[in-house]
Symmetry: C2
Subunit: 345 residues, 2 copies
Amino acid sequence: MEQQQVINNKQIVLKDYVNGFPKESDMILNTSATINLKLPQGSNAVLVKNLYISCDPYMRGRMSKSQGSYVDSFTPGSPIVGYGVAKVLDSGHSKFKSGDLVWGITGWEEYSVITNPETLFKIQHTDVPLSYYTGILGMPGMTAYVGFYEICGPKKGEYVFVSAASGAVGQLVGQFAKLAGCYVVGSAGTKEKVDLLKNKFEFDEAFNYKEEQDLDAALKRYFPEGIDIYFENVGGKMLEAVLLNMRLNGRISACGMISQYNEQGEGVRNLFHIIAKRLRIQGFIVSDYYHLYPKYMEMIIPLIKQGTISYIEDVAEGLESAPAALVGLFSGKNVGKQVVVVARE
Amino acid sequence: MEQQQVINNKQIVLKDYVNGFPKESDMILNTSATINLKLPQGSNAVLVKNLYISCDPYMRGRMSKSQGSYVDSFTPGSPIVGYGVAKVLDSGHSKFKSGDLVWGITGWEEYSVITNPETLFKIQHTDVPLSYYTGILGMPGMTAYVGFYEICGPKKGEYVFVSAASGAVGQLVGQFAKLAGCYVVGSAGTKEKVDLLKNKFEFDEAFNYKEEQDLDAALKRYFPEGIDIYFENVGGKMLEAVLLNMRLNGRISACGMISQYNEQGEGVRNLFHIIAKRLRIQGFIVSDYYHLYPKYMEMIIPLIKQGTISYIEDVAEGLESAPAALVGLFSGKNVGKQVVVVARE
């Protein structure tokens, strides 16, 4: 006889594939699902209680119908999936036991059965806020680390530009750039965010791209010598202006193009500068670099504890708030890393 | 008393900066210039008789008014400058003596005084056609070599696409790809060129891009598995279609974007695939790699002598024909490397 402990399991379900900007109404709160809190005998899965879920720009891509094999769509009618922090309640996998804290891909629901638990990271350091594992200690942190250090190979004194700089990734890239002895300028979309960049994250300069008539002129003002490293988070017109201002042998790490997620856009001009300036543009997917996670943790944990690195989260309370939080990413509503508290323990 | 040996020196002069497609009338034949065939005492220059001059797509950029420090414009009223093969008539430089054959940057004129002779390459192998030093044994050959081997790092069995494939660079890249055990498809703009690609240069497949309504569909037909390496020669719509068809970890070497030289174009869509497929786009300027020239010569000279590599030139006779030859590049009039004979010895 298997144990039965069936309870209610609230979920955020994708209604249908999304075109254009996502709306809250593209997602539905489903209050009628249930879950058995004991895994069936012989299962290799892990059953978790979700604590924090992460809203990340890449999720927009998964809301569309897949157009290739390299990006999986969400399944309409099923819960959204994404990064989160969770507590193991039951485990059929030798690597995990009840009570373990983990981060990785989970569901937008109160409880999830994770059938590929080998993708989960066990949380070792619990003397930092657990929500950090959706950001600075999770995928976005690794994205900043890999994109800046591994892809761009920064040298002391180089000029670094970060777009979407107050977001989960950008705020870290800017601080990593300062640690590497670079000059760093960030762009963001509100005065509040620009102030954060300058005062909290200690970027050398920051500007509100929405107040600039001419992005090329703005970049020339902040980078009279040009840009060595561009941490690409937005694409579109910003990339076009950046290409005009790159220096010889410049590097562009491309981990996100948030302006391109919701609309096809007009295309990017000025690509000829790739040749004229011998630029390297390197796309990457952070999960290809997860073998470096222990190395990153060794670097980042002391920096957090010493207060050398600042980190700002935008915390939404309750699973019900998740659709609005996700949608808000695409209008720049969040200030800092957008996270949703499902349960605190 | 210095020796005086002043003779007539025909020149092709740039009339004024060019906008849009260059026309023959943007260049003027100047028959009234003269030159002293003896260098003044104490000169460090080299005086050469020009034999072959090279028409290369990058020259279009130099016909426009310079917009940055990294590309020098031609000087209106002065002769066009570009790669060529020449014979030294007088030398004030210890590296060169009268009678030496050289290739490098020279003027579009019968005789040139080269004030930076350290940029010239002395021609060692004269048992191959001298005109080859404007192509397979010169800058375009090095471009193919560096772009394919150094930038793209080909592996056996990979899928390679070459645009503008019958041109000076493309025809070599395709043959290098075959030597490397790759599958290679080329595109060109006439049936004659497509036939050359398949029958002369032994590309696996080739197609006429002008006959394709849908470049994406054409690429899917020739690359059902996708493209690992794209040797970018054209930019624009072709690049847009290629991005849709690149495979994971694909590499794009960007050495030319001929479709972008004459018009600003509409911008390139689909850049998001750089991220999704972890692509690397690397711009390069071949002169940064000229230290590899001896290594390249060691490889290429035997391949030419054994007949392993085919090479086709489009030869225009006489300096007077140079403007039409150069302009023809941008409408794809040339078949193979466009070279102009100024004098045969």
